[in-house]
Subunit: 158 residues, 6 copies
Amino acid sequence: MSGFTHFDAEGKARMVDVSDKAETERSATAKGRILMQPETVALIRAGGVKKGDVLSVARLAGIMGAKRTPDLIPLCHPLALSSVKVDLTLDEGNNAVEITATCKLVGRTGVEMEALTAVSIAALTVYDMCKAADRGMTITDIRLTHKSGGKSGTFEAA
Amino acid sequence: MSGFTHFDAEGKARMVDVSDKAETERSATAKGRILMQPETVALIRAGGVKKGDVLSVARLAGIMGAKRTPDLIPLCHPLALSSVKVDLTLDEGNNAVEITATCKLVGRTGVEMEALTAVSIAALTVYDMCKAADRGMTITDIRLTHKSGGKSGTFEAA
Amino acid sequence: MSGFTHFDAEGKARMVDVSDKAETERSATAKGRILMQPETVALIRAGGVKKGDVLSVARLAGIMGAKRTPDLIPLCHPLALSSVKVDLTLDEGNNAVEITATCKLVGRTGVEMEALTAVSIAALTVYDMCKAADRGMTITDIRLTHKSGGKSGTFEAA
Amino acid sequence: MSGFTHFDAEGKARMVDVSDKAETERSATAKGRILMQPETVALIRAGGVKKGDVLSVARLAGIMGAKRTPDLIPLCHPLALSSVKVDLTLDEGNNAVEITATCKLVGRTGVEMEALTAVSIAALTVYDMCKAADRGMTITDIRLTHKSGGKSGTFEAA
Amino acid sequence: MSGFTHFDAEGKARMVDVSDKAETERSATAKGRILMQPETVALIRAGGVKKGDVLSVARLAGIMGAKRTPDLIPLCHPLALSSVKVDLTLDEGNNAVEITATCKLVGRTGVEMEALTAVSIAALTVYDMCKAADRGMTITDIRLTHKSGGKSGTFEAA
Amino acid sequence: MSGFTHFDAEGKARMVDVSDKAETERSATAKGRILMQPETVALIRAGGVKKGDVLSVARLAGIMGAKRTPDLIPLCHPLALSSVKVDLTLDEGNNAVEITATCKLVGRTGVEMEALTAVSIAALTVYDMCKAADRGMTITDIRLTHKSGGKSGTFEAA
């Protein structure tokens, strides 16, 4: 296990210098979920069929959130993302909304933070849309599940 | 359990009209945690004492993230927050960083989303700072723990 | 007809000083439309029923765009909007999408620009979503239709 | 006429994946106009000569607006624009301000939305600067007039 | 001389809680200057009369910069500024551009940072506009000259 | 000494067209300083050792500020910075904080403005953190000290 790259030898925070890295195609996928009351799951399902669709609003917020990553995470590089996909599905067996986000870039640094930010903002948006009905929802299990491209090679979550 | 306020009768998304709500002092507290390898916890502790301090960077990112909430969450109102506090502590027994954020406002709508966003952005920043050492970290258990002010009264998580 | 308030006596641009204005409830409504091929109207209708809903995405973009008005229009005041509603409907007789936006504020200055910006961003989003099918669409007839609150009184478009 | 590329096969909104597109020089030009009272045209002309120059402020807002396109239009890619030009001229015969914007990029996707956004924000800024004198102005005829570069070839408005 | 209010008793950064402060009218004025070659001063003067006006562009950038203060300065409160004025004048005797910015607010916290940010962004914009002619310009002497409103009373620079 | 590139032949502001420039590695370094009371220097030193660290907060704000340059400086190109470093040190002999920022890019245009903006935002943040103790601080001597890469060659401040 190596140390932290976002600090220099004196412990000062910095944006890591990627000038010498090759431009390669990079991809990252993150996942997360929101746990809620069964009644809230039912309301989301009913809305998606008949009325307002919580999951569509959250999907869009997640895509837009990925683009704001360098504004939000202090040491992230500004990136010209070439693809963002966010998917939300109802998991009624577990009273949850499952979220998956995949980001791609042809560039010099990875896009894990963009994928994780997309999942987080989508989850927060689900919370916002449903909070009048259920304040006790929990956002949980946000993690990187896949990463490819770049010198550190491919990562797959266990 | 009521329905969703962010859709009108036809299911169209909207920013809820709060023009007629009273300006009252409102407060919200949210919590969350990041699970990591014991070696990562040790690296963070070592940095906070001697070198770069992951928790200070994440605290600042959380405070700034709270201010970006209306840019990120589609139907949130723009708000003039009167206070933001973000606290991160190492929980070595559980190999985790614990995050707590409290936001306040004198205004017409609650600040739950601001507190939850602060926790989420702080957690993502911890992930970013430590990911060179530990890609398998998980952000988990982000939830509202307290809310006061406004017509819906005080909420305390069970 | 008076002169321009956004310049001082020497012709220098400024944000108008509203410190002495009363906090009143203010509302503004703007409208606009996008003209397109009949086939494009048909594709939007088909999507709203079965697949991707162009109008829902544009509605959300319009709401979020209203919040960005002070970042975009140089001399607009930053405002804590209390309500934003954006509505898009298909007008098949005229091969058009009709857009209406209403913004509200309890504050010291009007919200015309917020309503006009919401309509503009929603229209641009319809263009973006449909441009692979129809590059010749035209955004047209964006105008203020109603304004109330504040010293200048109520305005209704002829 | 093809379908919409911003939805996948299930109708879910996405940012189109351009990872495999070639980096080519791309250019787009958009136009639009604002209709106003003859007295408002006269005030703008007088200001440009003697006092505050509405058209210079709007030109700058248009250039800055082009850069904000990915923040505003949900499914637009973040882009490193290589050129933005915005031109506004008084058309006294038609009681109008004419706006033209041209954006360029060496990259993987077109810049139509950037040019259209520049025109829209410039037009909104003209409205804002002149609204104290003329609330009835109309922003109209915003359309793409030229596009070149990329696989879909050159587009010229009829 | 008191300590720093932006840290709590444990030295953790925070946004100061202003919930209990009174809403009063607050004003702040800041000044600064940019030193340059005599030829650069002459070019700016020539442009302002005949061609592109550096000072008008910088004035607008300063006004817009004041509005971005809470996005830029980590612990600043988001504020609904009621007035921003930025003035730039050529000081040919000293080969300098002089900048003054005044911000106002009816609110719970002071607007010094908004005035100082407006001056800084205006100065950076002058540098950007003129740097092809003169890379050795220096931005200097940015300071608060006046502050009124709020509990700490009126401040005037010596 | 040449003229200004940010205006066209008619004096209209524009973002300079860099489409034809080569992608090269570019670097820029800027410096600046804040003058303060000796007691304020002592408070900053004490905080860095025991409590809240003003210089760490300002370093982070400077890094984040560099990324916001195209949002702030009207005619700057949006850039994918590959490196940002900001350093702040106490100069007790001169009662000052010294700031140095270096930005890098592999791209078509220089990064002077990013380095100068990083220094400016870091300086403003020091002011904000210390203003409760010392309102009379002055931000001074912000200038470019080094620039390399690109057609205009290397610049070193005298």
